[in-house]
Amino acid sequence: MNIIYILWLRQIKKYLRSRSRIVGSLGQPVLFLVALGFGFGPIFQKAGEGNYIQFLAPGIIAMSILFTAIFSGIEVIWDRQFGFLKETLVAPVSRFNIMLGRTLGGATVATLQGLIVLLISLTIGFRPLSILGILISLIIMFLTALLFTALGTAIASRLQDMQGFQLIMNFLVMPLFFLSGAFFPLNGLPKALAIITRIDPLTYGVDGIRGSLIGSSHFGLSIDFLILGGITLLILSLGSYLFSKIEI
């Protein structure tokens, strides 16, 4: 328990100490919110879908969680390159606990980042339904964060250096994001796209956050919750398996 806590604490401390990273990683979501939110707003309204900022903000919150979480997981590569990973790997501690502590820490950081984007979106006119909704959305945010931190860790466990990073961004993270329904409603999509969006786990994160914050969800909160929870467990086991196989 202590061990998981200290690993968690390390991630939190590192996050709070990197102010420039926090500010830097908020640039993109704010840009998306403002440019897309106000840019597509009129069309969205004309199509009878209501207020686009209301629809978009949960998607952008999920986006910043996705990016921060994957990045936190990938940080294992940094620890490997700059040596600190060895220090944890020679300690008399199970690999599973190491992986769990790091992942919980990374997921907490990603959730905080999502929360900050939520607060920012309030300033440009986003209006969540209720306090209870916000609390429920935090749980879904954390599950989403856990899933993608574990995914990042799983990938990083198989990589020696950052050279594959661009590949991961372009062929995994970007598709996960753009095909998640963060920007567009899921009803009435072409068949192929409808199937792909259903395979993308981020879809359920976006849908769950949207459902809890503005009360309109495509699959229903309980389905979102179940699917997200199931995939998270799966990826978490995969991540800890791959992490336990790391040799230095």
């Binding site: 202590n2 390390r10 060895k86 220090e87 020679v90 300690a91 008399p92 040799e247 230095i248």
Partner: protein, 263 residues
């Protein structure tokens, strides 16, 4: 005599390349043992196998009576290590790095703080305890790593090139401290170094490894006698030849070099 490290026919292959080739040696409890060899000889690879970071291709190892393959946690509890490459978290303070280590090794909180204070005073970093490690010089980082490796009172202390790149004052300081520790606490010390005269001064036993094979072992007096040389350094050159070795740098090493050059 009671051996705290026993290695028999230890081999490590990377694909077809034998980095360590059937080496055998023992280290007695309380001894200072120097593992010498040119660049790329297989020293670090051997230490990684002894400390559970790498799985041997074949051969047996016993550390303090336990097998690193099957009794990892027992082995891990019994040693402390200073790695060849830096292994501190630069974004944490000196104190936090020690705290982290103490928690990982299950050292109770009072004891952990008491020892951390003692050790930081010994390595003369007490007044810098709340500074981020990234503000430290190479020598300070090394000293902090030594303090950290001792925090859980290991039975065996592995040091892989602990004085590489340090100035003579810091080197002397570090060796004096390690020597004292060995004398007072009977900690077994297993170290590698490029500075052969350091080994001659403090090691009771020496093994020389080259191209993955141990070519000679014994006390430095025995090595000098066998090679008919006056110093261990001359004996070492006689044994390993005068050709210059370079490590085949892998990707990670290259990244590190870039990083240190940028600084």
């Amino acid at each position: 005599m009671d051996n705290i490290i026993t290695v028999k026919n230890l081999t490590k292959k990377f694909k077809d390349f034998k980095a360590v080739d059937k080496i055998s040696f023992t280290v007695a409890r309380g001894e200072i043992f120097a593992f010498l060899g040119p660049n790329g000889a297989g020293k670090t690879t051997t230490i990684k196998m002894l400390t559970t970071l790498l799985k041997p291709t074949s051969g047996q190892i016993l550390i303090n009576g336990s097998d690193p393959l099957t009794e990892q946690d027992k082995v891990r509890r019994s040693f402390g290590i200073v790695f060849q490459d830096p292994s501190l978290d630069d974004d944490l303070t000196a104190w936090e790095n020690l705290e982290f280590h103490g928690v990982l090794y299950g050292v109770p909180v009072d004891l952990r703080r008491k020892r951390a204070e003692e050790l930081l005073k010994i390595v003369e970093l007490w007044d810098r305890k709340n500074d981020l490690v990234k503000t430290f010089s190479g020598g300070m980082k090394r000293r902090l790593e030594i303090a950290r490796g001792l925090l859980h009172h290991p039975k065996v202390f592995f040091l892989d090139e602990p004085t590489l790149g340090l100035d003579p004052q810091t080197r002397k300081h570090i060796w004096d401290y390690i020597f004292n520790l060995n004398q007072k606490e009977q900690i077994t010390v297993f170290f590698t170094t490029h500075y052969i005269e350091e080994a001659e001064k403090i090691a009771q036993k020496v093994a020389v490894i080259d191209h993955g094979k141990i070519i000679i072992q014994g006390t430095s007096a025995q090595l000098k006698k066998q090679t008919k040389k006056n110093s261990l350094e001359e004996a070492f050159l006689e044994l390993t030849g005068h050709a210059i070795r370079s490590e085949k740098a892998n990707k990670i090493d290259q990244m590190r070099m870039h990083r240190s050059l940028r600084r």
